[in-house]
């Protein structure tokens, strides 16, 4: 039966095939496979990010039909969307909540690729374009947060755009460039709007195109120590159906949060309300008033909370330098390390460790010590043992990974870089937790 003659094609299908080359696309899909092994579950997260991104695009386009940028109109237009436009409340809520789920899925995807070391040769550029997309989506979130022009967004943006000022020499210029002036005004709103609906989508198209092309070109990475469970699974339809089940689950979660969040008690939407407060995301609040006092307990979005909390905890002076400047530069260095991971983690590809790898190892130990110190501080000052637990855990893990590395010998992947990753995760979790509870 496998060698039966192909079914006759309809004239319409033939028409499309001749013009669009659909046959080659079908052939491509038919040949695309997904490896089967114990870590294969993590492959669905890339598709999940793509699905949530498409939700963003669709709802964003619908919002564009009614949204009016400008300090005098933005708030009113969003108010109009959620109160007068048919299903406007759903479109706006989908856009707002799916943006947060997108960041969550993106972080899971990034972490899974990092810990499975899927970035190793020849997928370095797949990683770089993926991290580029991560930064683009962070910027999407930051710029989109201001667009409703409400009180919370205004002050959060005022605080957030102040951070680059700590960068030596170019800081004040950067702040002015981002804000379109010395303060957050209607000019900032116009700038953020342009960024959100034109510049970032263009960048996303480029990076996403490159990312998907590279994924297609190199296929899915199989971890070096994973035993394949059998022949690779066809992407279409077997893996795509798995993806789609995940997408519909995500859609169900999305609409449940949207409808229940406004009246759900805290904790009912666990774990989402541990990370972010959906009520605040859905409430429009009051219109931005630059002359009003900042809302009490104002904090940035959850995805920025660890940075905010770290900068808050840093002392005014660190080794004679401005503490905030040191913090901002450290985060900048961290972002650079994240981009360069495939080139620094030479051990992942089975190559001999170079100077960068050794520096990376030294950085892990150093950050581990800082982490443990911060953990102790958080317990002593805040009375939160969580920080200590995170710090001790991270420091222990680093020591263990270094010791294991020494025993593993040459030719085996180093444990230092996963340690760096765990450390970053622990650091982000601890700082976010402190940020949420203080």
């Amino acid at each position: 039966m496998t060698s039966s003659s192909p079914a006759p094609e309809s004239p319409f299908r033939r028409f499309l095939d001749e013009r669009l080359g659909l046959a080659s696309l079908r052939e491509l899909l038919g040949h695309k496979t997904v490896p089967q092994h114990k870590h294969a579950f993590w492959y669905v997260w890339g598709g999940m990010v793509l699905f949530l991104f498409l939700v963003q695009v669709a709802t964003g386009i619908l919002l564009l039909l009614y949204y009016r940028p400008g300090a005098g109109e933005a708030y009113e237009s969003v108010q109009f969307i959620v109160t007068r436009v048919s299903w406007g409340w759903l479109v706006r809520s989908l856009h707002s909540i799916s943006a947060n789920l997108l960041m969550l899925a993106l972080m899971v995807h990034l972490a899974s690729v990092f810990f499975l070391r899927a970035y190793r040769r020849p997928r370095e550029l797949t990683w770089v374009t993926g991290v580029g997309l991560f930064f683009v989506f962070i910027t999407f979130g930051f710029s989109g947060y201001l667009l409703p022009w409400n009180q919370l967004a205004f002050f959060a943006t005022s605080v957030g755009t102040e951070v680059p000022r700590a960068i030596p020499w170019v800081g004040p210029f950067l702040v002015k460039l981002i804000r379109g002036g010395p303060d957050v005004t209607g000019a900032t709103l116009s700038r953020f709007y342009g960024l959100h609906v034109a510049i970032l989508p263009a960048l996303t198209t480029l990076l996403l195109g490159a990312h998907l092309y590279l994924v297609q070109r190199h296929g899915m990475s199989v971890p070096r120590d994973a035993q394949e469970k059998g022949p690779p699974m066809p992407f279409y339809p077997n893996f795509l159906l798995r993806d789609m089940i995940g997408w519909f689950v995500a859609l169900g979660v999305l609409i449940t949060i949207i409808v229940l969040a406004p009246t759900a008690p805290m904790g009912a939407l666990f774990p989402f309300d541990v990370l972010f407060d959906p009520k605040h995301l859905l409430e429009l609040g009051t219109k931005a008033d630059p002359f009003a006092s900042a809302p009490e307990g104002i904090k940035p979005e959850w995805s920025f909370l660890f940075m905010y909390q770290t900068l808050k905890l840093l002392p005014a002076k660190l080794a004679g330098l401005d503490g905030e400047m040191v913090g901002v530069l450290c985060f900048g260095a961290g972002a650079l390390v994240l981009v360069l991971v495939p080139f620094l983690d030479r051990g992942a590809s089975g190559l001999r460790p170079n100077a960068f790898s050794r520096l990376g190892g030294a950085a892990v130990v150093l950050i581990g010590l800082v982490m443990a110190g911060l953990g102790t501080w958080s317990m002593v000052v805040l009375g939160q043992p969580l920080g200590v637990a995170g710090g001790v855990l991270a420091a222990t893990w680093i020591v263990v990974s270094v010791l294991l590395d020494l025993r593993r010998g040459a030719g085996r992947p180093s444990l230092l870089f996963p340690s760096l990753g765990w450390l970053a995760v622990a650091f982000i979790v601890v700082m976010t937790a402190i940020g949420r509870i203080t």
């Binding site: 496998t2 108010q79 959620v82 109160t83 409340w89 059998g230 022949p231 699974m233 066809p234 339809p237 077997n238 159906l241 798995r242 789609m244 089940i245 519909f248 689950v249 859609l251 169900g252 609409i255 449940t256 409808v259 229940l260 969040a261 406004p262 009246t263 009520k279 859905l282 409430e283 429009l284």
Partner: protein
């Protein structure tokens, strides 16, 4: 001539003395010249009586001292005498040099008025300063009685001066603070207590035969609540109705003008009403007949009701003058009461529904804003009561009810939408569950086919 010549010198002297208390004297600076008055009256060796040193001790807190004036600017005399000379005291206190010493109580207003009635002089300190205090004082009951020889009545320092020995002690002129200074006895927050120092003292006021419970009543009033509790300094205290320097009780016919200073709309409506003529003919005190005076409380719609108010109430209702149940006026007041109550109830209902919708997370800010229009209409309707006709009140209430109905409808629609969303969620989740189940079944099917083809693939290939 009388003040200007020595003013800079004495100001420098005073400033030097005051500065010397706070900061060490700078080495290079020459010693500042000191007024002979200040030098002598601050030296216990020369002036052993504490009461005679009190003026200098309090000059720093005194608005006059803060504006650069010193002793001789009010008391005259010579401030530049050589204190080592044997006749220093006589020369300083020389009547020929304009020395007046302590003025008699009856001369107080004229003493202060030398400067405070002089526009040219006062404009140096405040171009907008009023200079009619002395003139107005002479028109006040206080001024009239003082002119008649009654020195017990209040004059300038009675209200503006200090009472260091307690409320009943004699007033001292030194240490007079600016009216805007919260420690000043004539700051709006302190005026009532200052007036009550005399007017609340039954023994002190016995010979005048006027009540002494005004301050006690005022403490219960809506005016005092606005002034003290809401910290609204524009809210009225004694002087806002009675005047300050020209204080006297308002006449019956001017009562609506007094209240109308703030309640302009109500006063104007009352003047247009037929009730104005009736009140004038009966020599009734207009506003205060229904609302009371010193103990005025927040008016309620119950004033219009056809039943007596609670015993001891600070206000009186229509029933007081119209006790006959068949009185047509009482029918109007009862109908107006019903109109106002109806609108208020509708606003309350709309507010409650909107609050419920808001608690359910529904955006109702626009409806809440709209509802404010109904409250405005209710306020207007209550003001229109002062026309004592039903039609204008009816019209305002109808307008307000229409707005409240619209807000109420929006509130109900929002609550309806809330429950619709929950039903929609349930249906959608069912649909999503169905799709997931279908996909899962399809997945099982394609997985089975794929595994079968994989098993048969190598054999057939």
């Amino acid at each position: 001539m009388r003040r200007a010549a020595l003013l800079p010198l004495l100001f420098a002297a005073l400033a030097g003395r005051l500065a010397g208390q706070a900061a060490p004297v700078q080495d290079a600076a020459p010693p500042a010249p000191v007024s002979a008055c200040v030098a002598c009256h601050s030296d216990p060796a020369r002036v052993p009586q504490p009461s005679a040193r009190e003026p200098v001790a309090n000059l720093a807190d005194d608005i006059h001292g803060q504006r650069g004036l010193s002793c001789h600017d009010c008391h005259g005399g010579r401030a530049d005498v050589d204190l080592t000379a044997p006749d220093a005291a006589a020369r300083a206190h020389d009547a020929a040099a304009g020395y007046v010493g302590r003025p008699a109580p009856s001369a107080g207003p004229a003493f202060c008025g030398r400067c405070h009635s002089d526009p040219a002089y006062m404009s140096r300190f405040n171009p907008d300063a009023r200079v009619d205090q002395e003139t107005r004082y002479h028109t006040s009951v206080h001024g009239e009685r003082l002119a008649a020889g009654d020195t017990q009545v209040a004059s300038c320092i009675s209200c503006h001066g200090r009472h260091p020995g307690g409320e009943k002690s004699a007033a001292l002129a030194h240490g007079i603070r600016a009216v805007a200074d919260p420690q000043s006895p004539v700051h709006p927050l302190n005026v009532a207590a200052t007036c009550a120092r005399c007017h609340g003292d039954a023994e002190y006021m016995a010979e005048y035969g006027i009540p002494t419970n005004q301050h006690e009543q005022y403490q219960q009033s809506v005016h005092r609540a606005a002034l003290v509790e809401k910290e609204d300094l524009s809210a009225p205290t004694c002087n806002d109705c009675h005047g300050n320097h020209g204080a006297r009780p308002p006449e019956v016919e001017s009562m609506a003008f007094v209240c109308g200073t703030c309640h302009a709309k109500q006063a104007e409506l009352f003047r247009q009403s037929t009730m104005k003529l009736a009140f004038d003919e009966a020599e009734m005190g207009e506003c205060i007949v229904c609302h009371g005076n010193h103990g005025i409380v927040a008016p309620t719609d119950e004033l219009l009701f056809h039943e007596p108010l609670a015993e001891g109430a600070a206000t009186t209702g229509c029933y007081t003058c119209h006790p006959d149940a068949t009185d047509a006026a009482l029918a109007i007041s009862t109908a107006v009461h019903g109109d106002l109550g109806g609108l208020q109830a509708r606003i309350g209902e709309a507010r409650a529904v909107l609050a419920d919708a808001s608690a359910k997370g529904m955006p109702v800010a626009e409806a809440e804003y709209e509802l404010a229009g109904a409250t405005d209409a209710l306020v207007e309707a209550r003001a229109l009561v002062h026309l004592f006709r039903r039609e204008p009140v009816d019209e305002a209430c109808a307008r307000g009810t229409k707005v409240a109905d619209s807000a109420l409808a929006q509130g109900h629609a929002a609550i309806g939408a809330f429950y619709f969303r929950h039903r929609w969620l349930a249906v959608s989740l069912l649909g999503i569950a169905f799709v997931i189940l279908s996909l899962w079944l399809k997945l099982r099917q394609v997985d089975r086919r794929w595994r079968a083809s994989e098993m048969s693939g190598p054999a057939s290939g």
